[in-house]
Amino acid sequence: MQISSARLGDGLILRVEEPRIDAVVAIQFKESMRQATAQPGSPVILDMENVGFLDSSGLGALVAVMKLLGEERPLHLAALRPAVARVLRLTRMDSVFTLHDTVPGRVANPQDV
C-alpha cells in the first residue's frame, strides 16, 4: 500500500495514497505503516485526505498501528473525510486518536503545527 512520508519538525507526516482502508488491504496497511514508521519522528500524523472509506477492519488496522508505535509515539489522524470521521465517532475512537482538521504544515498558519 502506498504511503508517502515527510518530516515536519519533530513529527512524521505519512500520507495514505490509497482510497480505501478496508478488509482487502488491512494487513498490507499495517505492514506498510510498520515500514513507514521505521524512520524516526513523533508524533506520527496520518494524512487521510485520500481515504474515502474505512470499515471496521481498517479501524482495527489503525488501532494496531497505534499500539505498535506505543505511548512514546502518538498516532494522529488528519483531514478525515466525512465517512471516515463518522466511523471514528460511532465507535468512540475519535476520543482515542488526536484528530486534525487539516494536515499540519499544509496551511500557512503557525498555530496549526
Binding site: 478488509a23 472509506f53 471496521s56 497505534m66 460511532l90 468512540r92
Partner: protein, 166 residues
C-alpha cells in the same frame, strides 16, 4: 470470482432507475439483486456497483455512505465467519423506496452462534493503549446504522435483513 448483477425478474422501466420514483415505484420499490462469490475483493466490486446504482436513483451521498459501510460490515462477516474465508455464494437483494433501502443478504455458510444475532455491544475504548480493541466493532456499527435488523436460518441458508432510512 465472477461478479454479476442479476436483473429483476420483470423488465424495469427506465423510471425505476431515474432520479424520481413514480407513485407505483414508491410503493413497489426499485429492486436489484447481486450474486457473487464471497471474498473481500468481490465485496469491493459489488459495493461499487451498488454505489453507482443508488447515485442514479438519486439517493443522497450520506445515505450511500451508510449503505456502503453497513454492507461492507455484513459481507465481511459472511466472508470471515459464515464461510471462514472459504469460497461461497452470496445473494444480496436491495429494494429502494422513497423513504428507505431494504436489504437482504443470503449465504449458505455456518449459522450465527446460538442461532441469533450478536448483541452488538460497542467495544470499550477507554482503557490503556495496549488494551484497545482491534476488532468487534462491526456489529455495533451495523446496529447503529440500521433499523429492523433481523436474522433467520432456513433451508440451510442464513438470511439477514435490515433497513436503512434515506
Amino acid at each position: 470470482m465472477m461478479v454479476r448483477s442479476v436483473p429483476p425478474s420483470r423488465p424495469a422501466p427506465p423510471a425505476l432507475l431515474a432520479a424520481r420514483l413514480t407513485a407505483s415505484d414508491q410503493a413497489e420499490g426499485a429492486r436489484c439483486v447481486h450474486h457473487f462469490g464471497a471474498s473481500p475483493q468481490a465485496t469491493r466490486s459489488v459495493l461499487s456497483d451498488i454505489e453507482q446504482a443508488l447515485e442514479r436513483c438519486g439517493v443522497p451521498a450520506s445515505t450511500r455512505e451508510t449503505i456502503e459501510l453497513v454492507l461492507a460490515e455484513v459481507i465481511n462477516n459472511v466472508v470471515e465467519h459464515a464461510y471462514a474465508e472459504r469460497p461461497g455464494p452470496v445473494e444480496l437483494r436491495l429494494r429502494a423506496t422513497a423513504g428507505a433501502i431494504d436489504c437482504v443478504i443470503i449465504d449458505e455458510g455456518t449459522g450465527m452462534p446460538g442461532g441469533k444475532l450478536p448483541g452488538g455491544t460497542r467495544p470499550s475504548v477507554g482503557g490503556a493503549l495496549a488494551d484497545l480493541p482491534e476488532g468487534g466493532f462491526g456489529w455495533s456499527l451495523i446496529r447503529d446504522l440500521t433499523g429492523d435488523l433481523s436474522y433467520r436460518r432456513t433451508g440451510g441458508k442464513n438470511h439477514l435483513s435490515f433497513r436503512i432510512p434515506i
